[in-house]
């Protein structure tokens, strides 16, 4: 089988226009008869549900949350990029495109990334029209800031709550369609399987989390907008309930999973404080605009930071990357922090931390200006650590944050399983091996508002609603039975260990061997350990309660069971990619100065893995990355 990206012809700037010009349309009078299932109501899911509802399709939107407004997107802090060039500092669609390709270390698909940059400008227009209260200047126009290593100011923001405001905008659009009856919003509803009929995605199996009942839902197209899989690592900046089950079940039904090993670790998170820890809190990257990162030059220097004189401090990012300094991209900053801590120069009780220091900025701008810019972040830091960052530097450490990998999709965001569309963080498409700050929100909304509605319509025009299989079709019965069987299996083990303890152990294995730096022996070892742990899980997990009602242990058990399998695939992908690129750092492949050594000759491709049945190794499908308008260059931020 070959993966067809189906990229339209023409120059990069022409492709999306050409796609829309040539797309097949559905007769407006017929749209009501098409059923579309959307799973997820984060930025991607809520925006696509609302837009498809406006277009007249019959949409059902499922979330496991108690309300669509709770999706993990709500937690995004820093901002959203768009090539508006309002500050006239030299930004353009092409520059945003190029920065994203380069930031992704030349492992993303050129045509998709160009389109993302192109539609970015419309996102801001639309969100403002919806009433998203972006930050403004005194003249009443929109304010922008530079974010996450960009040299232009293209980031729009709403205090430190940009994700919240964008999600509430999309949620309100969804709510409006729900009120009009165009979208049915189904909450507390977790998708547990995908139903494939004749090679096409035609429905899902859902568990009602309150009653425990399973139900079958048929549709002409299924959209997964279910977010990333970073909780595979247990401790992460994700919401506690974010999980991979939807995309993993789709993988097992034949959807290819692309670049699972491209997982992003964010440099500025609050360090871990104990074994009971349930999540790691992100401190927005915007802090790096004014904060300076340092550690003592001397190994084991335990003096309080204020007592360490200037000349005995190592501002290592400024030293290593003079032109980007503290704004060096996430992967480089995270790796540098790990290297420094491995050398024994880390700070804090555990030695797993570096300082992020505002003393100089406070001296230059005054504490009030700093409070105005970052007050809420300083408050969060204080809440969690009981320390005052106006007086002493913050301590930060990298944490798992985002997954660039995800289900493989073509240019139209459709998986290799026709009828299955994958949007937002759940797909692999735009960020290559590393995502730039403020571009996930952009991608989620680009996919949901401006891209998928066109590409889904184009697909639906080939489908006949009257031929849609009913839920009494054998494929639905089989899928429901397999979900039921799996739930019973989980409940019947009644072993000695909690789900949480397995999740914690799996996370440790992944963080250690498939985290910031990876090598072949470590990855091999991790695969062995994961397989053992998975076996033990199915023999020894204790899932209390029954299937017949709200059972949070059961929910988590199902998700963790999926993580074992995804973890194995992630390690396999990391092992096969014998190069270092973006977030994927293979210790065997580095230059003498410790920088990543990419291998374009052998690895300039998307690695898409296809399930080949239980107990058989997955098949690797390669989509070559042929760049028409950019040239591979070594990514340098020096």
């Amino acid at each position: 089988m070959r993966l067809e990206a189906k990229i339209p012809g023409g120059s990069l700037a022409e492709k999306w226009g050409r796609f829309k010009d040539e797309a097949r349309l559905v007769n407006p009078a017929n749209k009501r008869r098409y059923e579309i299932i959307v799973v997820g109501a984060g930025l991607a899911g809520a925006s696509v549900s609302a837009t498809l509802g406006e277009l007249g399709y019959a949409v059902k939107c499922f979330v496991y949350h108690d309300s669509p407004r709770r999706a993990h997107s709500i937690a995004a802090q820093g901002g959203i990029n768009a090539a508006k060039d309002y500050p006239s500092d030299g930004d353009s669609v092409r520059r945003l495109f190029y920065d994203t390709i380069k930031g992704g270390d030349f492992r993303s698909r050129e045509a998709n990334v160009y389109r993302l940059a192109e539609v970015s400008v419309k996102i801001i227009d639309h969100c403002v029209a919806q009433g998203v209260p972006f930050a403004r200047e005194y003249g009443g126009l929109l304010d922008n800031r530079s974010f996450g290593g960009a040299q232009v100011s293209r980031t729009f923001y709403a205090r430190g709550q940009t994700g919240q405001q964008l999600l509430l905008g999309a949620y309100s659009a969804l709510a409006r369609q729900a009120g009009l009856g165009a979208v049915r919003s189904l909450t507390h509803s977790e998708m547990l399987d995908l139903v494939v009929v004749g090679g096409q995605a035609k429905g899902i199996i859902v568990r009602d989390l309150v009653t425990g009942e399973l139900s079958r839902h048929a549709a002409d197209a299924v959209v997964l907008a279910t977010g990333g899989y970073g909780n595979l690592y247990n401790l992460s900046t994700y919401a506690r309930n974010s999980n991979a089950t939807a995309i993993w079940r789709a993988y097992q039904r034949g959807a290819a999973f692309a670049n699972p090993c491209f997982t992003q670790i964010h440099p500025t998170c609050i360090p871990m404080s104990g074994d009971y820890q349930s999540k790691l809190t992100l401190m927005s990257e915007s802090l790096r605009n004014d904060g300076r990162i340092w550690v003592p030059k001397q190994k084991g220097d335990r003096r309080p930071p204020a007592r360490i004189p200037e000349q005995e401090r190592d501002y290592y990012l400024e030293r290593m990357y003079p032109s980007y300094g503290n704004l060096a991209p996430r992967d480089l900053s995270s790796r540098a922090a790990k290297r420094i801590c491995d050398e024994g120069r880390g700070v804090g009780e555990s030695g797993l931390g570096v300082y992020l220091d505002f003393a100089e900025a406070i001296g230059r701008l005054g504490a009030d200006r700093i409070r105005e810019r970052y007050g809420n972040l300083f408050d969060i830091y204080h809440e969690i650590t009981d320390e005052n960052a106006y007086e002493a530097p913050m301590r930060i450490y990298p944490a798992m944050h985002y997954t660039m990998g995800g289900l493989w999709v073509d240019y139209g965001l459709m998986s290799n399983l026709p009828g299955l569309f994958v949007l937002g963080e759940a797909n692999f498409s735009d960020h290559g091996a590393n995502r730039l700050g403020a571009s996930a929100l952009m991608q989620g909304l680009a996919d949901g508002y401006f891209i998928a509605p066109h590409t889904i319509s184009d697909y639906l025009a080939t489908q006949r609603p009257e031929q849609r299989p009913g839920i009494d079709h054998a494929a639905f019965a089989e899928a429901e039975a397999s979900v039921r069987e799996r739930i019973q299996r989980l409940l019947s083990v009644r072993g000695q260990r909690t789900v949480a303890s397995f999740h914690r152990q799996l996370g440790k294995i992944m963080w250690e061997h498939c985290g910031l730096a990876r090598n072949a022996p470590g990855l091999e070892r991790a695969r062995g350990l994961i397989a053992e742990l998975r076996d033990e899980f199915w023999r020894n997990v204790n899932v209390p309660g029954s299937a017949g009602g709200l059972n949070q242990s059961l929910e988590r058990a199902g998700r963790v069971a999926d993580y074992f399998e995804l973890a194995e695939l992630t390690c396999q992908d990391a092992l096969h990619r014998e190069e270092s690129c973006g977030s994927h750092f293979r210790e065997e492949h580095q230059y003498p100065d410790g920088e990543a050594k990419r291998d374009d000759e052998h690895f300039a491709y998307v690695a898409a893995w296809r399930h080949d049945g239980p107990d058989r190794p997955p098949v690797l499908l390669r989509e070559p990355l042929a760049y028409e308008e950019v040239e591979f260059v070594q990514r340098s931020y020096k």
């Binding site: 108690d66 407004r69 709770r70 639309h126 029209a129 919240q164 729900a178 404080s273 009971y276």
Partner: protein
């Protein structure tokens, strides 16, 4: 340190709920309140008992999923934070801590500490939006918004939809929640065309959901994890009166 937890337990079989007491194991004061419940739940699981069901997700005070009434206060002892941002160090070694669900007619209890807040979604569905279709919006900077207006709209828009305001109110009124959304949208120029319709529709739905009346005791403001102020209720009352005067329904 250790605490004794008095926790509301209620099954899904229709039987009445009641309190159960659970002594905690040794706790680290830097643990979050929810991490403490995780630890207690792990112990219960290993003892063969059903763990305590409670809602949570982001664990950083933004998603509005966590709830809990802790020692009689929604979201616990500290002002301006949610339950998930409450830390064990806010309590003293040996304290007995009472944990109950949010209680309100419009928020039915599912199990233990989990309630359904779907009524809030229906209020938003009734009018908590600006009706724009995707595509065709004018350039974002074609409509300047004064900075102070944008800031005030943002103050209101910060609401996380947790429902603590309802749980704190003796009348179980949802006024603060509705006022925050009405104010956010009605303050902005984009929200003007639907200004009156919005407030009327949302208030009507609020009443239909069985939320009580507002008698301005201010208990909602005191527990709001985002410090959303009573002035927004006053603003909404004005909006409502103005719409009524214009004969809108």
């Amino acid at each position: 340190m250790r605490l004794r937890l008095r926790v509301w337990r209620q099954g899904q079989d229709g039987a009445a709920g009641g309190f159960r007491v659970y002594p905690t194991p040794e706790l680290n004061p830097n643990m979050s309140f929810l991490e403490m419940l995780d630890v207690v739940n792990d112990e219960l699981t290993l003892k063969g008992e059903e763990p305590i069901a409670f809602d949570h997700d982001c664990r950083e005070g933004i998603c509005g999923t966590c709830s809990l009434v802790i020692d009689g206060k929604p979201h616990g002892p500290r002002r301006g934070v949610a339950t998930c941002q409450t830390y064990v160090r806010s309590f003293r070694d040996g304290d007995e801590v009472c944990i109950e669900p949010f209680r309100a007619r419009a928020f039915p209890i599912v199990k233990d500490l989990v309630v359904i807040r779907k009524a809030f979604d229906r209020i938003i569905e009734a009018g908590g939006f600006i009706s724009v279709r995707t595509g065709g919006a004018p350039d974002a900077n074609s409509l300047p918004v004064a900075k102070d207006v944008a800031e005030m709209a943002m103050d209101a828009a910060q609401c996380i939809g947790c429902g603590a305001c309802v749980a704190a109110c003796k009348n179980a009124s949802a006024m603060l929640f509705v006022a925050a959304k009405v104010s956010h949208l009605n303050l902005l120029p984009q929200g003007q065309p639907e200004r009156e319709r919005r407030v009327m529709a949302m208030v009507r739905q609020m009443d239909a959901e069985g939320f009580g009346n507002c008698t301005v005791t201010g208990s909602c403001e005191a527990v709001c994890p985002k410090n959303i102020g009573l002035e927004f209720i006053a603003r909404m009352n004005r909006e409502y009166a103005a719409a009524l005067l214009k004969g809108k329904t």
